[in-house]
């Protein structure tokens, strides 16, 4: 799954560690999501969407 997490994080001048802290996961998890190696669960995707004030489909894009 593609995502705009890195861009959105850069716009908010947020580090991976800060985003991890805000969403209650490890920095490794945020890094893996950004690189497209790991797809987040729905609750985590909702947390991220609330944090950036955007709907989930504007952050994550289904590649299939």
């Amino acid at each position: 799954m593609k995502n705009r997490l890195k861009v959105l994080r850069a716009e908010k001048e947020m580090t991976q560690a800060q985003l991890a802290e805000e969403t209650g996961v490890s920095r490794q998890t945020i890094n893996a999501i950004e690189k497209g190696k790991f797809d987040p669960s729905l609750p985590l995707a909702f947390k991220i969407s609330r944090l950036f004030g955007l709907p989930i489909e504007e952050i994550f894009e289904d590649e299939s």
Partner: protein, 134 residues
């Protein structure tokens, strides 16, 4: 500081799991060496084995709590490593047992070798998964 909470929770649950595991290993030593060097009483053996089983249940519960305390990627890494370990143990264990039953090896198949294979497989699988998701 949610992430600090996550780290602190993981640390607490890791320590809890380590303590239960250490206690379980100690009771195994107590059962084995106690029988060999201190007592030859079946009654005491039943008691120590019962204690070992109870502590083993505690260790399993501590492991479940540890897994539930991990974040979703860490949990995925651990569960994948456990799945690989289960498969390797089944395949290697049965292969090893067949070597014994067909008298290809002269010694009896020892379960302790299987435990070593399990431990090493879990460690290697966890390291590989951590690199994969880095």
């Amino acid at each position: 500081m949610k992430n600090n909470k996550l780290t602190a929770r993981n640390k607490r649950k890791s320590i809890n799991l380590a303590l239960w595991t250490a206690a379980w290993v100690l009771t195994i030593a107590l059962v084995s060496f106690g029988y060999k060097f201190c007592y030859q009483s079946p009654v005491i053996s039943i008691i120590t084995i019962s204690v070992n089983l109870l502590i083993g249940i505690g260790m399993i519960i501590a492991n479940m709590k540890y897994l539930n305390g991990l974040d979703e990627l860490q949990r995925k890494i651990s569960l994948e490593a456990m799945g690989i370990t289960l498969g390797v143990t089944l395949v290697v264990g049965l292969g090893y047992s067949m070597l014994d039953t067909t008298n290809v090896i002269s010694n009896d198949a020892e379960i302790s070798y299987l435990v070593i294979v399990m431990g090493l497989t879990y460690i290697v699988a966890t390291v590989i998964n951590n690199i994969k998701y880095k």
